[in-house]
Symmetry: C2
Subunit: 179 residues, 2 copies
DNA sequence: AGCTGACATGTAAGTTTTGACATGTCAAGG
DNA sequence: CCTTGACATGTCAAAACTTACATGTCAGCT
């Protein structure tokens, strides 16, 4: 379900796009919130078309198909946003490692935490770069209200990454005391 | 892979247990890090047994089977912890909703954020209850070093929930300014 | 003219996850 | 004795996801 919604959302927010475009946007924008590769996206777009939630607006060069959201699709999107209680399913391999770290002896545990910390730092840097790019884009069109689409999620990601970073530091310090 | 590791980890940390016990622990401890229902756990235990990573130690009443981790299982677990770079795959329906909120008019957006905030509050309360229970258990066995198994992950969850809570408040305030 | 690399779309096989179905044991209370 | 509810284990079909395979177009460079 969520994949459909993510696709409908991108079409609603950024206008008509091809499967290829949508796959790109998954990498650069929604990725921090929901991930999907093109092998999932193309079939889903076909299903959405069959269900009347999107339509092929035009065909471009190289077999490019441009999809638009239909009014039904828009209604579905809004309904999901307003009514669907998000599942709280969580799955994080990093957190699983963090969970299990006390099984290792402290030296090894610290090494694992250090690696996790590095990954968090990388993610944080990515997110901050995205936000900087967004801010720059907003600054280029003064007068216009800034485009907040995706901005809240970005902010959430940044805050959670910062929290994870502090956690990694404290956890390492704690483990080192036990060495 | 991660499911196996989670099961091996629980067996390594808490000693022999049945599939039923492990399913319970998934609900009350690992759940904040990795989720799985019994319909996934039983077949996986069978596979782990076939692969020699766990073994049936004893059979109790009501067909209860008690599994133990084998030395091979323990080695596998440690290898994964030390060597496996966790995948950064992220999928959060709440974050997806947050991402899409700006598509709604501010009034509706605030309502969605309010709901997300309530869910985060619920989760935070759960995690804090777990931590309180853990602390109480540690206090009951003085002298013993506190059992840190799962504690780091719990701490991470709590910090991230707090960050999400602050985010929700700020995002709502931001949206309300736009009303 | 040929090569490279981004553009563009798909399929297929295999794994993981979900949700429903199915079955049976045992203890405690009415 | 009977019912209820926790204990206990499983299977199955469908959906979602991953990874690899497969094919072809077009622009720009050499």
């Amino acid at each position: 379900m969520s994949l459909r919604i993510a696709l409908l959302g991108l079409l609603a927010a950024s206008g008509p796009a091809s499967g290829y475009d949508l796959a790109k946007k998954f990498e650069t924008s929604v990725a921090h919130v929901w991930q999907a590769g093109h092998s999932q996206i193309y079939p889903e777009l076909a299903k959405l078309t069959a269900d009347g939630l999107v339509a092929v607006e035009a065909e471009g060069p190289r077999g490019r198909k441009i999809y638009t959201i239909t009014p039904e699709g828009d209604a579905e999107l809004r309904r999901w946003l307003m009514e669907h209680t998000p599942s709280t399913t969580l799955r994080s391999e990093s957190a699983l490692q963090a969970f299990l770290v006390p099984l290792l002896d402290p030296r090894d545990g610290v090494a694992v935490l250090r690696r996790i910390k590095k990954e968090v730092e990388g993610r944080l840097a990515e997110l901050e770069a995205l936000r900087a790019a967004k801010n720059a884009a907003d600054a280029r069109s003064p007068g216009e209200p800034p485009n907040r689409f995706g901005a809240y999620a970005l902010d959430l990601g940044i805050r959670q990454s910062r929290a994870a970073l502090e956690w990694a530091e404290d956890a390492m310090a704690d483990l080192e005391r036990a060495t």
